[in-house]
Amino acid sequence: MSVVAHLPRRTLSLTEEEADSPPAMHLTGRQRMTDADRSLSEEIYREFRGDHRHHDFVLGCLNCGECTTGCPAARFYDFSPREMLQIAQNGDATTLWDAMQEKIWACCQCYTCNMRCRFGNDIAGIISVMRELSVRHGIEATRRTLAPFNRSLTLLMTVGTQVSSDMIQPDFFRDWGPFATGSDKSWGVTPAIMRKAIPIDVLQTTTSSWEVSVQTSLELFRIYEETGVLDMLRGLDPDLTDMLIDIIEERREEFTEARERYRADLDRMQGPVATFSG
């Protein structure tokens, strides 16, 4: 097992030697990795080091700490972009696995570390690569971390926008106060009417950021199918994935019916609108 330079060796997972002869004191939460986890961690590590972005994003590190000095997450979490970069550069399967349990999700993806890094490392980018791997392999900690995102993922996958006004429910966003949704009771009308008062027709909906045409959402779903995003999502949440496929099947039927209805208009047109089959 290699040692991450200049960092205390304090992985969350017990090494095989430690597990056989436990040290006198453990860090909170340290536990022995199962054989399955150890095997998975080694597979993930191989994929991580083999990803072309590892070569492009990790250029070197002198431990200057500039990245961590400017990092918003480092102020509130046990997280440091310097540590992430050191793990990316010098870590092994165990240290990478440990980082994937929680730490990688502290990053704000603000790119402040990238801007400050004198080596030109893409630290936010390499953290994203770690995150992708944790999603693709359905790591349990990742499933827990992303559990609250089912609604926004559904929106994103089916219409390609991430927020709708009906997602900002007062009960869930109490900390935003009574005026955060633009539709508090003092206006005396429903949220749907408040949306109607936006002077842009495609925004006058409560269930999506804007109304997206069926063709557009089907084209987007084709991208997800072709690029392995659906497979990634299946690793994270198979039930959600099946539900998304059902929704899209309904939209495809709707599209086919509409194509019959508008056949005369579409026959006069050229380009994707004339040829896209759903």
């Binding site: 072309h52 492009d56 250029l59 070197g60 918003p72 997450a73 102020r75 509130f76 704000c108 790119y111 990238n114 801007m115 030109g120 994203s128 992708e132 944790s134 992303l146 995102f149 993922l153 994103l156 219409v159 390609g160 926008t161 991430q162 927020v163 997602m167 966003f173 935003w176 106060g177 005026f179 955060a180 633009g182 206006w187 009417i193 008062a197 936006i198 002077p199 842009i200 027709d201 495609v202 999506s208 950021s209 804007w210 997206v212 045409s213 069926v214 557009t216 987007l220 084709r222 991208i223 690029t227 392995g228 995003v229 709707e254 508008y262 050229q270 380009g271 994707p272 609108v273 004339a274």
Partner: protein
């Protein structure tokens, strides 16, 4: 433990690698031209009909900002949560006589999701970008990106599509299956750059005196920390040491812009955090941004130019009262502020009722009669409730567009592929910018 010689060798190896990676900053537009000549992609040029204005980027490169005939690449967060942001932009375009297309045939960039949950990958992100780029191209309108993250993501994806042959070919194959082509815009343009380019025309229509307002600016991270070489700078704004937008329009409108110590910090949005770990977002926003904006700069309003930043800085404040931080500093986008000074309705257009921090004091300071405007808006809501047709900024989409991305006769003529035209407007560096 390594000895001194070994440590020196490690450092030398890293330095050599750093120099040998070839990771120097290059102008991706030059490579795009070369790939276009090889038939690998089409460059969507800024043309004379786009009435471009030249600006300078971080390294002094020229960036041509189209000001007319634009395709609105809306922001999912703005439209879902702060709709006065896009409505102010469209309203200012109407007021300044700009032609645009705002349609339902656009997806978001999906990068909020990527940066929040990583349930995507670069090929998917690049294909999403390219699909939107092609849609803009086939409608003969130049894409204008509303969101800072979309702007940053699209700059990254454009670089990726230019530099990575494998990704480019995969994306082209996906696009072909939809009868679309790989099109990359000559410029990736953030709406705040359009605002800056339009500063003289906005100021010419200014009706409200903004000189009594002290503003603090939050610079959106994804505007200038992602692909930094493509952000706009101007010697007249912070001596060219910080991005020119959105500060430039505030100065042009006569507002005072106050500095504060944490200007470089992010807002605390975090992509994932704003939805599922708001303890972090609100702590960071209040302690690192709002508090210094109020206590150091005594500002009347925080101005920024991105979706997540307006959301986080605005909505995080209410709970601050529970922690002895009763600031309630109004937070607006630059275009909402500009629209207000041009006489936009605070509720019908700027949609200020979607903001959590009260804006009444700011409107009083600007001399805007918000009480009458609010009464008028309440009456309008009752009319809508009774079934009245909503007022809209542009013609609504056709019924067929609920299903199909129709072309309305916009199929491109061959001349789109002609070389770029000469800008018709003077440049910022020649004195067009705010003074």
């Amino acid at each position: 433990m390594l000895n001194a010689t070994q440590i020196r060798r490690v450092i030398e190896e890293r330095t050599e690698r750093r120099q040998g990676t070839g990771k120097k900053v290059v102008d991706v537009r030059e490579e795009m031209d070369r790939l276009e000549e090889q038939g690998e992609l089409i460059v969507h040029r800024v043309r004379a009909e786009n009435r471009p204005v030249e600006m300078k980027t971080l390294f002094g490169w020229t960036k041509r900002i189209p000001t007319d005939r634009l395709w609105h690449h809306k922001s999912c967060g703005q439209c879902g949560n702060i709709p006065g942001y896009p409505s102010s932009l469209l309203w200012v375009m109407n007021e300044t006589g700009r032609e645009y297309l705002n349609e339902p045939h656009q997806t978001s960039c999906t990068a909020w999701n990527y940066h929040g949950t990583a349930t995507s990958n670069p090929v998917a992100l690049a294909a999403v970008a390219a699909r939107n780029f092609h849609r803009a191209y086939e409608t003969h309108h130049f894409p204008l990106i509303h969101c800072g993250t979309s702007f940053g993501d699209y700059k990254e994806m454009r670089k990726l599509l230019v530099e990575n042959t494998e990704v480019r070919h995969k994306v082209r194959e996906i696009l072909r299956s939809m009868d679309r082509e790989l099109v990359l815009p000559e410029e990736i343009v953030h709406y705040s750059e359009w605002v800056q380019a339009m500063a003289p025309e906005i100021v010419a229509r200014q009706k409200v005196d903004a000189s009594g307002v002290v503003a603090t600016v939050h610079e959106p991270c994804h505007y200038y920390k992602m692909v930094p070489e493509d952000a706009v700078y101007d010697d007249a704004v912070y001596g060219g040491q910080r991005p020119a937008v959105p500060t430039g329009i505030l100065l042009a409108l006569g507002a005072k812009v106050a500095d504060y110590s944490t200007w470089y910090d992010c807002c605390g949005f975090g992509f994932r955090h704003i939805l599922s770990e708001r303890e972090f977002s609100r702590s960071f926003a209040n302690l690192r941004k709002i508090r210094p904006m109020v206590e150091e700069a005594h500002s009347d309003v925080a101005i920024t130019s991105d979706t997540g930043c307006v959301t986080t800085l605005d909505k995080s404040q209410w709970i601050g009262r529970a922690h002895g931080q009763p600031y309630l500093l109004p937070v607006l986008s630059d275009i909402q502020f500009a629209a207000l000074t041009m006489g936009a309705h605070p509720y019908k257009i700027a949609q200020l009722h979607w903001h959590a921090a009260p804006v009444d004091r700011l409107l009083d300071r600007l001399g805007i009669d918000w009480r009458s405007a609010k009464a008028e808006f309440l009456e309008y809501l009752q009319q809508l409730k009774s079934g009245a047709a909503p007022e809209v900024l542009h013609a609504p989409r056709e019924e067929i567009e609920r299903f199909f991305a129709i072309n309305k006769g916009q199929v491109l003529p061959e001349e789109i592929r002609e070389k770029p035209s000469t800008p018709v407007s003077p440049t910022l560096v020649e004195g067009r910018g705010p003074r």
